[in-house]
């Protein structure tokens, strides 16, 4: 079914909102990454267009990137929790489940297993996208246990190092010494070692990054999803600054992300041998498909 579930009957099209019809006609559903991936953002109907996040919010940019990178948007379900991020995620044209505080990974466990029961021969991608508070504080136990159980889905943590939505409280992922609400004298312990915890808990692919390079970020997101399908839990820890709470002027958001990339968010990628095999296989297949398309095009021109 997949694509069919969003495709309206031809005769019905004229009664549907224009936005919807454009999504079906010009959106990334059923398209390749060259046609509708991050490299072409702005040139196709994106899955997230409008969102109510702050101007310059780096998290909003990264969320847009996640949706443009999905290998299978027509068969993807996202789950999230309270926080700024879900304001954008919930407006994407991909099913989104909002449960309770921090329980996204527990819900995803049930969802993923039930999908495998109902559709043993189909690929349904399940991705949790939550902030640092939802993933590492209130949802900590549920996040950890989903990894320990080896649940096959991708966890993406949007680390803005603060509770943006509730007004700037310190989180377990805020840097030591940061003066934030509920840490009025400065946070007295360091960032929780998220990727280390993930590896210890059994994630087979983990990445820590500051997503300044669009192509690289897209590649990582896809790798995490491909590996989760076949091998086990995958985790992306991405720096997505909160320019409001950390007072980063909008025009300096990118520079800040660049600076963090050289400092606390140096690129770190880990994969098990099994994960590596999947990545190599999938990327070789993608490359071959790309070459074949290219050859076809050249042939058509000649």
């Amino acid at each position: 079914m997949s694509l069919k579930y969003i495709t309206p009957a031809e005769r019905f099209k004229k009664y549907l909102p224009k936005d919807y019809v454009e999504l079906v006609d010009y959106g990334p559903f059923g398209k390749t990454q060259e046609e509708a991936g991050p490299g072409n953002m702005g040139q196709f109907k994106e899955l997230v267009e409008e969102h109510p996040m702050c101007s310059g919010c780096w998290m909003a940019y990264y969320i847009r990137l996640i949706f443009a990178s999905l290998p299978n948007p027509e068969d993807t379900v996202t789950l999230g929790t309270a926080g700024c991020g879900r304001l954008a995620i919930s407006q994407a044209a991909v099913p989104f489940i909002y449960g309770n505080y921090g329980d996204q990974n527990a819900m995803a466990s049930g969802l993923t297993r039930a999908f495998r029961l109902r559709f043993p021969d189909k690929t349904k991608d399940v991705i949790t996208i939550a902030g640092d508070g939802g993933t590492m504080d209130i949802g900590f136990s549920m996040t950890m246990h989903s990894w320990i159980r080896g649940e096959k889905f991708t966890t993406i943590m949007l680390d803005n190092e603060v509770y943006g939505n509730t007004g700037g409280q310190s989180s377990g992922m805020s840097p030591q010494g940061a003066v934030l609400k509920m840490a009025p004298k400065g946070k007295d312990f360091g960032k929780m070692p998220a990727t280390e915890l993930a590896r210890a808990a059994g994630c087979v692919y983990t990445v820590r990054m500051s997503p300044t390079n669009i192509k690289k970020a897209a590649k990582i997101i896809r790798r995490a999803i491909f590996v989760a399908r076949e091998v086990g839990p995958t985790f992306i820890h991405a720096y997505t600054s909160c320019n409001i709470e950390y007072s980063i002027p909008t025009h300096e958001v990118f520079a800040d992300a660049k600076a963090q990339e050289k400092d606390r968010f140096t690129f770190e990628e880990y994969m098990t041998d099994e994960a590596k095999e999947v990545i190599e296989r999938v990327e070789a297949e993608e490359k071959a498909a790309r070459m074949a398309r290219k050859a076809q095009k050249t042939e058509a021109v000649n």
């Binding site: 027509e74 879900r86 309770n100 819900m107 466990s109 049930g110 039930a114």
Partner: protein
């Protein structure tokens, strides 16, 4: 025996009417925990998620065993109750039939997720094997936790004994999945008193089970990216603007409580109604649910032997509460006694609110903290109500 989710047993699938009303039955002497698990075995459950707490554990152990035997397709032990209840909510979105159970403190721990189930249209069945909450910690049976469940919109049934536990649990799946209901159904019964004690249960054959879950026959399609038209954002939080937010939330909640009310016709269909009445012409009525109903029944029997004008109303459905049925039955009563297994008297409050002359209701007798309810306490209240002396010897 190793768990084998692939294993499929040969079963005859039948509809709930046949299963509950016509299917042959055989008498077994089993515990309440076994009765609940045996119902789950016959309900074609796709997935069960477990987390231990006394006295519920027995139920989910047995459900684990029946998973290992191939009666259930998927089963796992979750991290704690919030994780369990959230996973149920997640799995429900994928369109499968679900069961879990909990007790007292576990119910409270999972309550944040449970209370969102009706709004999320999760048609799961939740076993509540009641247990003391509050401090000091105790593992004894006491049903105060049901008071916390009463306001979330879920349908709630209260089983008196092992037989009820079997029948109510089986019926719960059918009720939850009706298109005009489609909210969770909780089946409560007293921990230990019922779960760990044996009673006779007339059971349907093991190789006969309920027709399978149909995710398409739902007021909201599963979030499986399969069913047109696309339901892209059913579960997004409603916070776009204050006006829209309150409007949508209010309408949504009204629909949930309407769904709850619509469950009543199925409670009639499958359980013969929300109440059971003995001696409707009596002056004095005992109204009780769950285990207290068993003791009220015993007191009622003593009263019959003594030739006293005493009636009995056993309440099977706590939500929807049988307001009309109770009001109608007690319209000529002079006094009502409500024995309960909790300190606050939630059933008494419900009964008082249901009738125009709440002053005729005697609060109690109540036992709590896991004590058994001596029938003599109920007898004393009956005698008081009739203006008779009673020599209470406990």
């Amino acid at each position: 025996m190793s768990p084998n989710p692939e294993k499929k047993l040969e079963k005859t699938l039948v509809d709930i009417n046949y299963l509950l009303k016509e299917a042959p039955r055989e008498k077994h002497f089993i515990t309440g925990a076994q009765a609940m698990a045996e119902a789950v075995k016959r309900a074609s459950v796709d997935m069960a998620i477990a987390y231990p707490i006394t006295p519920q554990s027995e139920v989910m152990h047995l459900v684990g065993d029946i998973y290992a035997q191939g009666h259930i397709k998927e089963y796992y032990r979750a991290e704690e109750e919030l994780g369990t209840m959230s996973a149920i909510a997640g799995a429900a979105r994928a369109g499968v039939r679900l069961f879990t159970a909990t007790s007292g403190p576990g119910l409270l721990r999972g309550l944040e997720a449970i209370v969102s189930w009706p709004g999320h249209r999760v048609p799961a069945v939740l076993g509540i094997l009641t247990r003391v909450i509050n401090a000091p910690l105790s593992i004894q049976p006491d049903n105060i936790e049901m008071a916390y469940m009463m306001h979330c919109g879920a349908v709630m049934l209260h089983a008196e004994n092992q037989q009820d536990t079997f029948d109510f649990t089986l019926a719960a799946f059918a009720i939850a999945e009706k298109v005009d209901v489609y909210i969770p159904v909780a089946v409560a019964t007293e921990g230990f008193f019922v779960t760990h004690a044996k009673g006779y249960v007339d059971m349907t054959p093991e190789d006969m089970a309920l027709t399978e879950f149909d995710p398409v026959a739902a007021p909201v399609p599963a979030m499986d990216n399969e069913t047109p038209p696309a339901r892209i954002q059913r579960d997004a939080p409603v916070q776009k603007s204050n006006f829209m937010s309150y409007l949508i939330h209010a309408v949504w909640q009204q629909e949930i409580w309407d769904s709850n009310k619509r469950a009543m016709k199925y409670i009639y269909e499958y359980l013969g109604g929300p109440i059971e009445v003995k001696n409707p012409e009596s002056e004095v009525f005992l109204i009780a649910s769950g285990c207290a109903a068993a003791q009220a029944r015993e007191a009622w029997r003593y009263a019959q032997e003594a030739g006293l004008s005493v009636g009995l109303i056993k309440v099977r459905a706590i939500r929807p509460f049988p307001i009309d049925e109770i009001r109608d039955t007690v319209k000529n009563a002079k006094s009502i006694i409500v024995p309960e297994h909790n300190i606050i008297g939630w059933l008494c409050k419900e009964v008082k609110a249901a009738i125009p002359n709440g002053g005729i209701v005697t609060e109690g007798p109540r036992v709590y903290g896991g004590m058994t309810l001596p029938v003599e306490l109920i007898m004393k209240e009956i005698h008081n109500s009739l203006g008779l002396e009673y020599d209470l010897k406990l």
